[in-house]
Amino acid sequence: MFRQSSWDEPVIFTLGRPGRRGHILPEVEETVKEVVGDLGGLIPENMRRKNPPKLPELSEPEVVRHFIRLSEMNYGVDSGLYPLGSCTMKYNPKINEELADSPKLGMLHPYQDERTVQGVLEILYRLERWLAEITGMAEVCLQPAAGAHGEFLGALLMRAYHNHNGELSQRRDMLIPDSAHGTNPASAAMAGFNVVVIPTGEDGCVDVEALKAAVSEKTAGLMLTNPNTLGIFEKNIDEIAKIVHEAGGLLYYDGANLNPILCKVRPGDMGFDIVHINIHKTFGTPHGGGGPGAGPVGVKEELAKFLPVPRIVFDGKRYRLDYERPHSIGKIRSFYGNVAVLLKAYIYILSLGFEGLREVAEVSVLNANYVLHKLRGVEGLTLPYGEKTPRKHECVFSAKPLKTKTGVSALNIAKRLLDYGVHAPTIYFPLIVEEALMIEPTETFEKEELDRFVEAVRKICSEAQTSPEKVLKAPYNTAVQRLNEVKASHPQNMTLSWRMHLKKRAATNP
């Protein structure tokens, strides 16, 4: 049986003792001190820190044990199945970590002379070419730090494009399906567009008639995920692209779901003008508990001139950073991207190669359909939309019947699954499926692990029928039992830092 470590590990501010140190710096050389003299005079009186920051004071082993204990209360892909739909939680190859940890990258400064950074520029340049080839785009910009950052850049590129054509004031509408991830509408709004929601049809695909009715001379573009968040391929993509393009809009591809079509079909060939890639999903780089990832953006030829500066260029001999791009939108961050993450993606592509990436796609689809097949017919679960349509990388079940009958919701299933030593699927997304359980096994888990998962879901659904209260109170085997998430956001209890905690405590027992 699974039991997660459950340390009674206090918040670090209550550990240690004054005077302990976890790290000491080299002594400043005497010559330096002699030349500089008293430091006191170097900082204006009003700018000196008088109250030292109230950081904890711990020795090195105390720091290590504290964070190791915390890590033992965390579940990662290396712990077991992590079928978090839309997140593509696949195995992160160890060699990638080892190689990316090199001081030849770590201690490389972004403003170094180009002659001293040819190795890293070569890696980045080639990675751009490979990603362009894989997505079917003309050029790729590696700068965005995550998928949503890429979306924001994509929307800004649309803005630049329409502005260039003198149509920005008119093209204010961004069309987004109701199945889309929250970052799509949020990114579009951040770039100044109005969001127009397009409904999904019975078949789980964009309702083409509704799309036709929604497009107009106001359309800036359409943001689409394909395969979509139901795991279904938008089979009408040809027509969709025509409709949007004929209205003068651009087609944006949310690459969160690129995994199942790698080296099989390409967004560029389907008519997409702009794509982002979630490197930390498709290309096997670790999520790090919420980043850092990377969200490169690919574009068709006519949009390339708007990409952020600098562009990496190669004259056949040397790699160079080119800032002379008069049409560029400018910068969306400092420097050139999350290079350490991008290096891991480079290694990933190098390791797998064309055939390997195609195998990644196919097995991710096989695994998703296998799980779908084994869960079909479990009492309490249904498979909304396109009952007969094969899924790609993920499948979305609804636990609505189970909830109606037993009171056990998708959330409760998720929590109970944790007791079995598997991570929960994504829940309540996409919004168009009630009580959604969004399951993405990825290609890196073996059949036996998938069987274990299926068995756990079956058991929980039957437990819901016989002893629902047991499921409702789950989890039991995790570091802590069910947490009160509402309390964390309630104005009265809201404690977002140790400082706020101390302030609250002082106020209640003066």
Binding site: L39, R48, E60, M107, H109, T116, I237, R333, K447, K487
Partner: protein, 470 residues
């Protein structure tokens, strides 16, 4: 490759695949792709690599990386938003723990307490450093954090303008512009004093108005000097109903007064120097903090971890708080689109700060100041060099002007590189009014001997230049 079972893909083993297909009732995986229109399928292989073994990959990557010249190959005196600092071994050990490294955003709190607590501790330490009350668990970097701060200030004040010092990092300035423009927020520059670099308060008074959502300053500034008029700037901003936004290099906060003590409403900054390698400029770690004011907290971008208890109240725990601000719930009305952020870099920062503690952080600040000032003293002794350009105290970066030596920054740079030293960043084009000027950075990693080497090399370059020009 596909014929063999790939090491990362267990079910690529033929028998497993067959069993699974049999179970599903298909004869070929192609059937699962049957709904994709035929015309889209690739007709020929793509121009990508063929696939390699681990050993081949290792050789290839090491060969490529060896073409780079990094800090171990030559002393590098670059800063400007990404700084060389020592990363203690403990930090690397913790962030490589696969339970942290390979986890997703902690949506399932009960099984992710470790990450949640580590991020809560990061937030809390940032609050202590900056003397603010609330910090989020990271933005992409300082530049995008500044962009988000401008938008947040505009939402709070319902005004549409931010005033920034003319001496702001050009990449941050450009990013701010790109974030602000779609929200209808104008960015205006405030002049600086040519002698001291300090913000020109008259110009600030002239430009600030009822339209001003925020006044922004950086401390230390982009060009390394300390902006000492912060109390006055804060007063002016607040007197006009604007918010005061401050950008920081956190390594300075063991010795410099924290922004929370001079009236900052929002603090942004770059957390990379806290335990994160430079990595050629990314990943970085955007710091974002604000005051304990419900109106501000509600407008914060990004993930925030909060303290809570189990449902039965028996035990303390952590979970994501205030998610109703975020894109997955609020969609186009969210305070930001940010989803994945730089969580693991935040954990690195927390470990780093825990190792240093208050004393270590003060020592770090003092060591940096000693060394940077030492470098300034040595360089300013060289005939024809001005270091720093501004008459003001500096922290770890400072400007060096080569006008009086009759040299261009690019010439000096080339000559230094030939001597195995990487000089500072050329800022002559960014601030033409300063003439031939470079921005140098010195931290605790620079030994006294390296600084002396730099001074000797510069002295040589200057005198060689003089002979040439005479």
């Amino acid at each position: 490759m596909a014929k063999r079972c790939h090491p990362y893909i267990p079910n690529s083993q033929l028998q497993t695949k067959k069993e699974m297909m049999l179970e599903i009732g298909i004869k070929s995986i192609d059937e699962l792709y049957a709904d994709i229109p035929e015309k889209y399928f690739l007709k020929k292989p793509l121009d990508v690599p063929k696939g390699s073994t681990e050993l081949e990959v290792k050789r290839h990557i090491e060969a490529l990386l060896s073409k780079n010249k990094a800090c171990a190959d030559m002393p590098i005196f670059l800063g400007a938003g990404c700084w060389p600092h020592y990363v203690p071994a403990v930090v690397r050990e913790i962030v490589q723990r696969s339970e942290f490294l390979t986890s997703y955003t902690p949506y399932q709190a009960e099984v992710s307490q470790g990450m949640l607590q580590a991020l809560f501790e990061y937030q809390s330490m940032i609050c202590e450093l900056t003397a603010m009350d609330v910090a989020n668990c990271s933005m992409y970097d300082w530049a995008s954090a500044l962009g988000e701060a401008a938008r947040m200030a505009s939402r709070i004040t319902r005004r549409a303008e931010i005033l920034v010092p003319k001496i702001t990092h050009p990449e941050r300035r450009a990013t701010l512009q790109v974030y602000a423009e779609p929200a209808g927020v104008n960015v205006k520059e405030v002049e600086y004093d040519r002698e001291t670099g300090q913000l020109n308060l008259n110009d600030l008074e002239n430009k600030i108005s009822k339209e001003t959502a925020a006044v922004y300053v950086e401390n230390p500034s982009y060009l390394g000097f300390i902006e000492a008029q912060v109390d006055e700037i804060s007063r002016i901003a607040h007197a006009h109903g604007a918010l005061f936004v401050v950008g920081v290099d956190p390594t300075s906060l063991g010795v410099l007064k924290p922004p929370g003590e001079y009236g900052a409403d929002i603090v942004v900054g770059e957390g990379q120097p806290l335990g994160n390698p430079m990595n050629y400029g990314g990943p970085l770690l955007g710091i974002f903090a604000c005051r304990d004011d419900p109106n501000m907290i509600r407008q914060m971008p990004g993930r925030i971890i909060g303290l809570t208890t189990t449902v039965d109240g028996g035990r303390q725990g952590f979970c994501m708080a205030l998610q109703t601000r975020e894109q997955h719930i609020r969609r186009e009305k969210a305070t930001s689109n940010i989803c994945s952020n730089e969580a693991l870099c935040a954990v690195a920062a927390a470990v780093y700060l825990a190792l240093l503690g208050p004393e270590g952080l003060r020592e770090l600040g003092e060591t940096i100041m000693y060394k940077a000032n030492y470098a300034m003293r040595l360089l300013s002794k060289i005939d024809g060099l001005k270091a720093p350009v501004f008459k003001a105290p500096h922290f770890k970066e400072f400007t060096v002007n080569f006008e009086d030596a009759g040299l261009r920054v690019s010439e000096v740079h080339d000559a230094l590189l030939q001597r195995g030293i990487h000089g500072g960043k050329d800022v002559s084009k960014e601030f033409p009014e300063l003439g031939e000027t470079a921005l140098y950075c010195v931290t605790e990693i620079h030994a006294e001997s390296e600084i002396r080497l730099l001074a000797e090399a510069l002295a040589e370059v200057v005198s060689a230049g003089r002979r040439r020009h005479v």
